[in-house]
């Protein structure tokens, strides 16, 4: 017993040393640095398009890199690829399981992927020769639900799972290239860095981790949240990480300073954050809450500057297009809307 106690003390000691070391780098706060910046003013977004076709709650959506097409996954057991300009359905893909948690669009536009309670990541080829969309691969090895997936290319995809791990897959062979283990709770969300060298994961152990994809290592771990991290994303310049948690706050962590810069919170917000998307400039943060509300934050000043779809709490997921021109929301009533 004595040894355990010793080790525990050593661990606490090391944690304190890390915190102290981080503090010595903190020469200012983000609020001080941003004090001179002009206020954003109230943000009010308008619906430009409504995408109709699903028959049940939208669980997830992801924009294609062309900022025109997007894919959505619904409780109705379908993946739909939409042209957001014409509102036409480009593809409607029936899934084996209705319990889909995530979907992703490959940067090339050739593939989409999804997964959920089936513990698998299914890859679909949108550009098959005969025009039909078929399952190209079923990546099976996780022992827990598939919470999130993101393509690196047409040959590699990263997944996060309720089995606490993240995995880099080789799509051609359907095998695991790297298993990223370390989280002590279900991994809920992941984001890939703009240069595709790193990815971040948020988990039910209240931490976010930065992983080096090629070196297969966890480079940094960020704590501070008081509950599960449900949503995570890179700040647009790739130098910071944004997290959303069941503790009803979002946090901004700087990678180079290795510490938290800001917490986005308000005493009137008591509901957990389950999705998030920064604007292209990074000035605004859209945070989707579990009560189907979306709050819009000024990221520099940590002030709320608006809400999205104010009356009807309906939003179940959000995503901002890569050209920053539009935001897409999925609702519990089966519709998707495009806003700007």
């Amino acid at each position: 017993m004595g040894e355990m106690e010793e080790l525990r003390k050593e661990m606490e000691n090391l944690k304190d040393q890390i915190t102290a070391a981080r503090k010595t780098f903190q020469d200012s706060t983000l609020q001080e640095a941003a004090a001179g910046v002009t206020v954003v003013g109230r943000v009010q977004l308008k619906t430009r398009k409504t995408l109709r076709g699903h028959l049940a709650k939208i669980y997830a959506m992801h924009w294609g890199t062309d900022s025109t097409l997007c894919v959505s996954a619904s409780q109705d057991g379908k993946l739909i690829v939409w042209d957001t300009i014409t509102t036409n359905k480009v593809n409607a893909i029936p899934l084996k399981s209705s319990w889909v948690m995530t979907c992703a669009y490959a940067p090339s536009g050739n593939l989409v992927a999804c997964g959920g309670l089936d513990n698998m990541c299914s890859i679909y080829n949108l550009k098959g020769k005969d025009g039909n969309v078929k399952v190209m691969r079923e990546l099976a090895a996780h022992t827990g639900y598939l919470s999130c997936c993101r393509f690196l290319s047409d040959t590699e995809i990263i997944t996060s799972s309720g089995d606490c791990t993240c995995v880099l897959w080789d799509i051609e062979t359907g095998t695991q290239k790297t298993v990223f283990a370390g989280h002590q709770g279900d991994a809920m969300s992941l984001g890939v860095s703009p240069d595709f060298k790193y990815f971040i994961s948020g988990a039910c152990d209240f931490t976010a981790k930065l992983w080096d994809i090629r070196e297969a290592e966890c480079r940094q771990t960020f704590g501070g949240h008081e509950s599960d991290i449900n949503a995570i994303g890179f700040f647009p310049n790739g130098n910071a990480v944004i997290t959303g948690s069941d503790d009803a706050t979002c946090k901004l962590y700087d990678l180079r300073a290795d510490q938290e810069l800001l917490t986005y919170q308000d005493s009137s917000i008591m509901c957990g954050v389950t999705s998030l998307a920064p604007s292209k400039s990074g000035r605004l943060l859209l945070a989707g809450h579990d009560d189907f509300n979306v709050n819009i934050w000024d990221m520099l000043k940590a002030e709320r500057v608006g809400v999205l779809a104010g009356h009807d709490n309906r939003v179940s997921c959000i995503g901002v297009s890569s050209d920053g021109m539009a935001c897409c929301t999925g609702s519990w009533d089966s519709f998707l809307k495009i806003w700007n």
Binding site: Q44, L45, K46, T47, G53, L55, A56, K57, Y59, Q75, D76, G77, K78, K89, V90, N91, A92, P94, K96, S98, W99, V100, M101, T102, G116, L117, D118, N132, V133, G144, Y145, C148, G162, Q184, G185, D186, M188, S189, C204, D205, N230, S268, M270, C271, T274, G288, D290, D291, F292, V307, A309, G310, H311, D312, S316, C317, W332, D333, S334, W339
Partner: protein, 234 residues
């Protein structure tokens, strides 16, 4: 968080992966043979709840037994579940007082009272007007119509001069529409008529508010199950 209509003891998520888990659990519970009573339901509930002394389990959202229960489901039950879920959500959000007409707010205090005291789910839309300012009379008529069509919304109007609001709302920014819910400002539209033509009607105001996601659906229509939604549409 949803208003106190949750039957479950533990807080549950409705969105994201945990939302899917929760929906699946509810589906499983609902599809249990109702003649098999409490014991089986209790078992399912126990499997979902971590024991207090099991700290490691707290970080895991699904139990091993639950993973084993995942299987191919009957499409009929799934369809029924989906429609029922959406219907319930719609009813939850429609719950609240109903109003029939636009209320005249006589003072600044009355304004604060309506904003702070109305039911959490009730949308409050306040029209600040001034006699003689262009568009105000027209907007008032439009809101009288909308008040009948959207009984869940508390429409109000305030004479800027009579209530003293004119100090902050000068004629150039009138008519103004302020939208509140649960004490919070959702939207501010100053000189709102600049968004409309010279002649505008209730439908124009309705369309405008809809664009900002500020109006509820008038009624819930259950979907006819549309199987030919499947397949590729190029």
């Amino acid at each position: 968080m949803m208003s106190g209509q949750e039957e479950e003891e533990l807080p549950v998520n409705h969105t994201g992966p945990k939302g899917v888990i929760n929906d699946w659990r509810r589906f499983k519970l609902d599809s249990l043979d109702p003649t098999v009573p409490q014991s089986k339901r209790e078992l399912l509930r126990q499997m979902s709840s971590p024991r207090e002394d099991d700290k490691e389990r707290l970080n895991r959202k699904m139990s091993a037994q639950e993973y084993e229960m995942i299987q191919e489901e009957d499409e009929g039950s799934l369809k029924r579940y989906r429609t029922q879920s959406m219907q319930e959500m719609h009813e939850r959000l429609s719950f609240g007082p109903a109003f029939e007409e636009v209320k005249e707010l006589e003072s600044g205090d009355a304004f604060l009272e309506v904003i702070e005291k109305e039911h959490q789910m009730t949308l409050v839309i306040v029209h600040i007007y001034q006699h003689g300012v262009k568009g105000c009379e027209q907007l008032n008529s439009c809101l009288d119509c909308l008040a009948l069509e959207y009984p869940s919304i508390r429409f109000c109007r305030m004479d800027a001069v009579a209530t003293g609001a004119v100090e902050r709302f000068t004629p150039e920014v009138l008519p103004a529409l302020l939208v509140y819910k649960a004490g919070e400002s959702l939207a501010h539209f100053l000189a709102v008529t600049k968004h409309f033509n010279e002649d505008f009607f209730a439908t124009d105001v309705e369309g405008f508010l809809n664009e900002y996601g500020l109006l509820p659906k008038k009624e819930f229509t259950a979907w006819a199950d549309d199987e030919d939604e499947g397949g590729n549409v190029e």
